[in-house]
């Protein structure tokens, strides 16, 4: 194969060589292309040039000749039977028979003849045989072999058995069997040889050794032989009317001339003759059995056929072994899944269940390391990159957000920005448990640091012949070591499937947990509601007796005052006041419970007019003679329940008024600041303040930080404020210092997520159940 000067030479050039139409055949036999004439006779329309020597006839007497005139009648009969009869259509090769043909005058030679159909042509190939074998002998070999491998349940032993058997049958110096991996690289699994040729056992062949189209051809034509690499190719010639026909497709030909690159490859290997048999499973080229000999060697067609049968038996056995081992692996994985499921279900937290059983978790995918990532937290198990690198990957993976399961054996091609991963976790298999929250389980495999022996240098050398750039395979064939950089062992489909299945198992657990949580929350909610109803009815029923105590004490005071002593009157007055205060407490409690029970009426409302309105009420009802300066800043329009917000402002402003009572110059300031997410409102006063360490108590129901005699009140105002703001999804807090005033703040979300129509009353104190939002 030669290419123009300007053509770029790379490894893929071989892939473009049209090896199925070489236009010539090897010289250990000859080829005739026949066409059936309307009168039923077969005419030669194509012949290899060397047919002239084999048939001792000039080529022009062969081309266009009738087959009857070239070979014996028996053969033509056999041909009719084998190729022309009904139902024998189809492109497979048939053994037609043997013939003794005169070669070079008086000498006669045995030929084995095979034929196949090629569209409207019949291709007959005559292969010279040096020696013959008996069919009975071959049958014995085959049945012995089948018997001997029945007991084998190990792939290597099986490969070894077929390799030795084929060598015994064919007599090659060396037979080796190699398997191709997913990327097409070959590994020699078994070998049988004498000391004429070196050992290649355990070596790796780069995928580029066998170009793509050759692999396709090998699936079609399962056995090829080159008896002598130094053969003189014999060109194919045709009758004049075939001149414009496309070149003859020799895919199924046994004599097909091979690529000059391949012949050079053989010479470099030190082999003169070779044979190769395809190992095909499920339509895919699984591997090759190849034989080599240091000198020319022919193998009779029947022996080759027997070898091919042996190979087919072997592949079907290999497939069965593979399937049963896959099945065993799958069963093993199932049991690992089951174990992990029980670990997850047993613990309080399913993540702990996983983290405590790293061996099983790693077994899910056959990884060396794993990580469980939840948000910004990650748990590392086994051999993993640093936490930082793991989190960087996790971030990349969730940003990618496309698939639930991700697998690579060369991470730098996918996520190159994390340098550490390149070698520490070249292989990553990741599952994402949620699109919303970052919840991932990752498995790692390190770079294959062990050296790999290649049977050749992957970079093909270039050479110039007559000024033309020539491409040819490695001249140097000594083992060459290369570190496979940045690559881990690939994740198999079983392992990826296992990860996917494991993902569903975890999701099931998570969902189950979420359901339990929701159930608990709803139980809590209902018991909370019962409690609310109970406290409501208690408070409600308390109201009447308090009213009666207060009422009759007053009546007594009014009607019978003259008959009582001063002390008696004072006691009665205290009874009346206490009953009134108890009534006030009950009313506050009822109002407090009503805040959580009523539906919110969310509307757009301007805060400033509301605060001004509340201030007017406070001035009218509470301020009296005092002078209080009020500053109301710019306040936004918010989405809220007007009545409840009025209570909030009333409470806050009344408080500010109350606690500034001792001040000479009382000043209250209402302001608002906006952040991207929320509005923060504040009521600031210069009153008595409070001790900062008790700030958290300020918002509790009936919590007071001052003595009753100092400041009146039930102590429920700020509890109401907190409840109302919480129902609006906001927060409440306070800062203060004794004698330096207080700032009571609350926030409201910038965008109110409660529907405008209002929401179902929720119970304060229990947070809404944290159901993980899953995208399962």
């Amino acid at each position: 194969m030669s290419l123009g000067d300007t053509a770029t030479v790379d490894l893929t050039n071989c892939d473009r060589e049209p090896i199925h139409i070489p236009g010539s055949i090897q010289s250990h036999g000859f080829l005739l292309g026949l066409k059936l004439q309307p009168d039923g006779r077969l005419h030669v329309v194509t012949a290899s040039e060397n047919a002239a020597q084999y048939l001792s006839l000039p080529l022009d007497r062969i081309l266009d000749a009738e087959l009857n005139n070239l070979v014996e009648h028996d053969l033509v009969e056999a041909l009719h039977k084998g190729l022309l009869s009904e139902g024998s259509a189809g492109d497979f090769v048939r053994f037609i028979g043997t013939a003794r043909l005169p070669v070079s005058g008086s000498q006669r030679h045995d030929f084995q003849i095979v034929g196949h159909r090629l569209a409207e042509l019949f291709i007959l190939e005559f292969e010279r045989t040096e020696h013959s074998v008996s069919q009975a002998e071959l049958n014995a070999v085959l049945s012995n072999f089948v018997g001997s491998i029945e007991e084998l349940d190990d792939r290597t032993a099986l490969c070894q058995a077929v390799t030795s058997q084929i060598r015994a049958l064919t007599g090659f110096d060396r037979i080796m069997l190699y398997q191709f991996d997913e990327e097409g690289h070959g590994t020699v699994l078994a070998e049988d040889r004498n000391d004429k040729l070196p050992s290649y056992l355990g070596l790796h062949f780069p995928a580029t050794d066998i170009p793509q189209q050759a692999r396709a051809l090998y699936v079609l034509n399962r056995i090829r032989i080159i008896p002598d690499v130094d053969y003189e190719p014999s060109p194919l010639l045709s009758v004049p009317e075939m001149k414009d026909a496309p070149p003859l497709d020799l895919s199924l030909s046994i004599l097909r001339s091979v690529s000059p690159i391949h012949r050079e490859y053989m010479r470099n290997m030190g082999t003169v003759s070779s044979m190769s048999i395809s190992l095909v499973t499920e339509g895919r080229l699984w591997g090759l059995i190849s034989g080599h000999h240091h000198e020319p060697r022919t193998v009779p067609y029947l022996v080759r056929s027997a070898s091919e049968v042996l190979s087919r038996i072997t592949t079907s056995h290999l497939l069965a072994l593979h399937r049963s081992s896959q099945m065993a692996h799958a069963i093993r994985l199932k049991s690992v899944h089951g174990q992990l499921l029980s670990f997850m279900a047993a613990g309080e937290n399913y993540i702990d269940g996983l983290a405590r059983h790293p061996v099983e978790l790693l077994a899910v995918t056959g990884a060396q390391g794993a990580a469980i990532v939840v948000g910004e937290r990650c748990i590392l198990l086994g051999k993993t990159p640093s936490q930082q690198a793991v989190l960087a990957f996790a971030q990349w993976f969730s940003k990618r957000g496309r698939e639930d399961v991700f697998a690579t054996n060369q991470i730098e091609l996918e996520c190159g920005e994390v340098e550490e991963l390149r070698t520490e976790a070249s292989g990553i298999l990741a599952i994402s448990l949620s699109q919303v929250h970052r919840m991932q389980i990752l498995w790692f495999r390190p770079e294959i640091l062990q050296t790999v022996q290649w049977a050749g240098e992957p970079a093909k050398s270039e050479e110039f012949v007559n000024g033309v750039r020539q491409i040819h395979p490695r001249n140097s064939f000594s083992s060459w070591k290369e570190i496979v950089r940045g690559k881990s062992l690939a994740w198999t489909s079983v392992e990826i499937e296992s990860a996917r299945e494991f993902r569903s198992i975890v999701l099931e657990i998570v969902l189950k947990r979420a359901e339990e949580l929701a159930e608990m929350a709803s139980e809590l909610e209902s018991s909370n509601r019962e409690l609310e109803a109970f406290s409501y009815s208690v408070s409600h029923d308390l109201r009447a007796p308090f009213r009666h105590i207060s009422g009759f004490a007053e009546l007594l005071l009014e009607n019978e005052a003259s008959r009582l002593s001063d002390t008696g009157r004072r006691h009665l007055a205290t009874i009346a006041q206490s009953a009134q205060f108890a009534g006030l407490l009950v009313d506050s409690l009822l109002n407090f419970s009503r805040i959580s029970r009523t539906q919110l009426e969310i509307h757009s409302m301007a805060m400033k007019p509301l605060v001004e309105d509340v201030w007017r009420d406070v001035v009218q009802q509470e301020i009296g003679e005092r002078q209080v300066e009020m500053v109301i800043g710019d306040l936004p329009v918010v989405e809220a329940d007007l009545n409840l917000l009025r209570q909030v402002w009333r409470n806050l402003i009344s408080n500010a008024v109350k606690y500034t009572r001792p001040c000479d110059h009382a000043r209250i300031e209402v302001s608002c600041e906006q952040t991207p997410d929320e509005y923060v409102f504040a009521v600031r006063d210069n009153g008595v303040g409070f001790e900062g360490e008790y700030a958290h108590k300020l918002f509790g129901a009936f919590q007071r930080l001052h003595r009753m005699e100092e400041f009146e009140g039930t102590g429920i105002g700020l509890a109401n404020v907190r409840r109302i703001i919480a129902r609006h999804n906001g927060r409440t807090w306070a800062t203060g210092e004794v004698g330096k005033g207080a700032v009571i703040s609350f926030s409201l979300p910038a965008v109110q997520s409660i529907s405008r129509r209002g929401s179902v009353p929720d119970s304060e104190g229990t947070e809404a159940p944290q159901t993980p939002k899953l995208d399962a």
Partner: protein
């Protein structure tokens, strides 16, 4: 002659306090007491123990909500659905501030709704104001003629 006030109250303490309050108000109206909803109904419709009493409706009904036999809201429903009484002023007087009670009370057509204050003076004042407003100040609805008027202020 002044129309009486019908006070429907089952709790003896509340009854006594209410009567004391009404007595202090200086109203000249008689106060008829019914201790449950059924008795009040008998009075209004001149049935049962009130069969044969002189005809005439009270100036106002002060109606507690929680009552034995026939409760306050039921009685209100009966009053509003009877042609003889459907314009009678009714003031609901109760401990409950529950919105549902308020809502049902107004839906059934009560003329006012007063939560009994705990504080005695406030309670007194409320009872007195109610009595004076409904028994003295409020013009009784005219005899039905043409446009109906439910007496609502």
């Amino acid at each position: 002659m002044l129309k009486p006030i019908l006070l429907v109250e089952d709790n003896p303490n509340d009854l006594e306090l209410s009567l004391a309050a009404l007595a202090k108000s200086g109203l000249a109206n008689d106060v008829i007491v019914a201790r449950d909803g059924a008795e009040a109904r008998d009075y209004l419709f001149c049935t049962g123990v009130y069969a044969g009493r002189p005809a005439g409706l009270p100036a106002v009904v002060l109606l507690d909500l929680k009552l034995p036999k026939v409760d306050g809201l039921e009685l209100l429903h009966i009053i509003r659905n009877s042609p003889e009484t459907n314009r009678l002023p009714v003031v609901i007087l109760t401990s409950s501030r529950e919105e549902s009670d308020v809502a049902s009370g107004y839906r059934l057509g009560s003329n006012a709704y007063v939560v009994k204050p705990v504080e005695f003076s406030a309670f007194f004042k409320a009872i007195q104001d109610l009595g004076i407003f409904w028994a003295v100040l409020n013009e009784p609805p005219p005899v039905p003629r043409g446009k109906p008027n439910n007496g609502q202020q």
